[in-house]
């Protein structure tokens, strides 16, 4: 099994007619994802290489039965696009947009929770989700993933998500699902959401968790793991050498005062029984050992 998306998930792409939306939407389709439509206001009735384009999410959902959306629109329009998806009947929204103002994210997240309980947002500013061999929504290169499990991956950083997939696939270890939750201050889906889903998924036997400096999500995840997780977890936290007070690219990745350091996160995870590794390769090797011993 996989979490959140599988071979039956029907997906629309909001922003399919834009450069990024088209490139990645078509790549997702080539991978085998059921990309059933696109949404661009004013371009309804046209198509992108055979994928029908609609003016609104509602029309697209009615015509295609889609339940998931891939949001690839500029930061200015992303919040509206996310809320339109939820109002239009989409229940799983993947937003890859980078650069959305934090206040917009905070409002959008809380409106989703209050007005559309049951809708899950992944991102913004995330690479997306891939259940290898079944469904790929977002910008992950499908050929670096390996189908068949048994490892679930959850990561806060885009490129490190690919690195984690790559380390495992190179060693012949497959993945059930790989989720990139994104590095923004208000992520729709967090580590704990993913850890809980992996814990409940019978085909996932172990989890790789990739974190980074800033915030306290890793520490919260560690608490949760300690109390609830029966499956082995391997982690890697990026930013051991990051200086305090400087934003390392992601809006969320900043060490403020004594808080948010890689060391504090690694300590909390180790304390929760997680196998804490110092670089992605080491994490990959540790996971190989764990999977071989299953």
């Amino acid at each position: 099994m996989s979490i959140f998306v599988d071979e039956n998930t029907k997906v629309i792409v909001q922003g399919l007619t834009g450069g990024q939306g088209k490139f990645h939407g078509l790549r997702n389709r080539d991978y085998g994802t059921k990309i059933v439509g696109g949404v661009t206001p004013g371009k309804g009735g046209t198509d992108v290489e055979g994928i029908p384009v609609f003016n609104t999410v509602k029309e697209a959902v009615e015509a295609t039965g889609a339940t998931a959306s891939f949001v690839s629109v500029p930061p200015k329009f992303a919040s509206d696009a996310i809320l339109e998806a939820a109002a239009g009947g989409i229940t799983f929204i993947v937003c890859i947009t980078e650069g959305i103002p934090a206040h917009d994210e905070a409002v959008t997240y809380n409106r989703l929770v209050e007005e559309f309980p049951g809708v899950r947002l992944l991102g913004p500013n995330c690479p997306g989700i891939i259940s290898p061999g079944k469904c790929n929504i977002g910008i992950t290169s499908g050929d670096i993933a390996l189908a068949g499990g048994p490892v679930g991956i959850v990561s806060r950083s885009g490129t490190l998500t690919y690195q984690a997939l790559h380390e495992l696939s190179q060693q012949g270890i497959g993945q059930t699902t790989c989720v990139g939750i994104g590095g923004d201050p208000v992520p729709g889906t967090n580590f704990i959401d993913c850890l809980a889903a992996f814990e409940a998924d019978p085909e996932t036997k172990a989890v790789m968790m990739i974190g980074e400096i800033g915030g306290s999500e890793e520490e919260r995840a560690a608490e949760w793991i300690k109390l609830n997780m029966t499956k082995p977890v391997v982690s890697y936290i990026a930013g051991v050498t990051a200086p305090a007070g400087r934003k390392m690219g992601h809006a969320g990745a900043i060490i403020s005062g004594s808080k948010g350091t890689a060391q504090a996160k690694m300590d909390a995870l180790a304390e929760a029984g997680v196998h804490v590794c110092l670089n992605p390769t080491e994490a990959g090797q540790k996971m190989v050992e764990i999977v071989k011993a299953l």
Binding site: K76, A102, H103, A106, P243, A251
Partner: protein, 380 residues
């Protein structure tokens, strides 16, 4: 983007938050002119983006022209924790009956806004939080509903501000929240917020951090950007749309994605090297961006080797490869370049570079191998 105190006060003023009358001065003569205009006594305050100005002698009271000359002359050019003072803020001195603390920031774990209010202001709030946590009234604010006056009134009561300050403070806090949200601040903090002996409440300091992701709807931020004191390479990188932070080591780093860039720094460190910088070329970087990145790193004399670590996603590796070749034609790069290329269009990218590889342009199959090779060059 962090604002200077004077910019924070000017920003507050736009939202109707009361601050002391004052103005900026870059020379002693300007300081005298401002002081004469706002009226004595005045406070001469160093404008640097670092705490502890008072202790460092960067904040002085002046009762007359001579004292303004003396203090302005001493403070201009002063080095406060590595920040040299180029600008002063001169404001009318306020009599203080009470000092409070007020701030708004994002509560990330709760995904709400967090207001902090304390009747014990004027000292570092971290110290209050540590020694007397009950002295801070925390307020969780739903970003959808915002902060209304009724809630604000309950909040100032809970914080036990002095009776005389409560109504004015409640109104000021609603305005500060407006400033925080409509003004797209990551942090809006007043410490101290004061009550004067004649029962007026106003902001005596301003600490504002703006969310740069919201720049598109704030053209007025341009003036703040102009005064950002930056490392020249950081400035050059920013102009080219790159996310660059200068560090002290000898291995120049270029990676795509913040996480991979941080991880590259870590791995270089683990194999015995040290990074000269953090540089994230971002998602979707093309050949031109890559070439610019190499130019920025190349301008750093500390750099002995350049490690390019790319895992293509939205970024296409063939574009990165083209950028490397373009940069090599555009500028003369003395340092060897070690590349690790994986992900989207990696096969195409490696094929583009293959005919050009030599002892100073090298590819390695993994991140760890590439880090080792780069560090070997750096330590040779």
């Amino acid at each position: 983007m962090d604002l200077f105190e004077y910019q924070g006060k000017q920003y507050f003023s736009r939202f109707g938050i009361a601050v002391s009358p004052g103005d900026v001065a870059d020379t002693v003569e300007q300081a005298v002119e401002v002081a004469n205009r706002v009226g004595y006594p005045v406070v001469v305050k160093a404008q640097v983006k670092v705490g502890g100005r008072g202790k460092a002698g960067g904040v002085k009271l002046a009762n007359n022209v001579d004292e303004v000359r003396l203090h302005a002359g001493n403070i201009l050019g002063l080095d406060i924790k590595g920040h040299v003072v180029h600008r002063l803020w001169i404001e009318r001195s306020s009599d203080i009956a009470k000092e409070y603390y007020a701030s708004f920031t994002l509560d990330r774990p709760n995904k709400t806004h967090l207001g902090m209010l304390s009747a014990q202001g004027g000292v570092e709030i971290e110290v209050v939080a540590e020694e007397n946590p009950d002295a801070i009234a925390f307020l969780t604010i739903d970003p959808v509903r915002g902060l209304d006056l009724a809630t604000s009134r309950r909040w100032v009561n809970e914080a036990e501000l002095d009776e005389a300050a409560r109504e004015q403070a409640a109104e000021l806090l609603v305005k500060l929240y407006e400033c925080y949200t409509k003004g797209d601040c990551d942090l809006a903090e007043i410490n101290p917020l004061i009550l004067t002996p004649d029962n007026k409440v106003h902001a005596l300091d301003a600490k504002v951090t703006l969310d740069e992701n919201a720049s598109f709807r704030h053209p007025e931020w341009e003036e703040f950007r102009a005064t950002e004191t930056e490392d020249p390479r950081e400035k050059m990188a920013k102009e080219k749309g790159l996310n660059y932070i200068g560090l002290d080591g000898t291995v120049g780093i270029i990676a795509n994605g913040a996480g991979l860039a941080m991880s590259t720094l870590d791995v270089v460190n683990q194999v015995g090297g040290s990074a000269a910088n953090f540089l994230d070329i971002g998602g979707g970087a093309n050949a031109d961006v890559m070439a610019s990145a190499l130019e920025v790193i190349n301008s750093d004399p500390k750099v002995k080797v350049i490690f390019v670590n790319i895992f293509g996603g939205i970024t296409r590796v063939d574009e990165v490869a083209k950028g490397v070749l373009e940069a090599l034609q555009r500028v003369s790069i003395e340092s060897p370049i070690v590349l690790r290329l994986d992900g989207t269009n990696a096969v195409e990218g490696r094929a583009i570079l293959a005919p050009h590889l030599n002892e100073k342009l090298i590819t390695e199959p993994t991140m760890l191998d590439a880090a080792r090779r780069a560090v070997a060059f750096a330590n040779a």
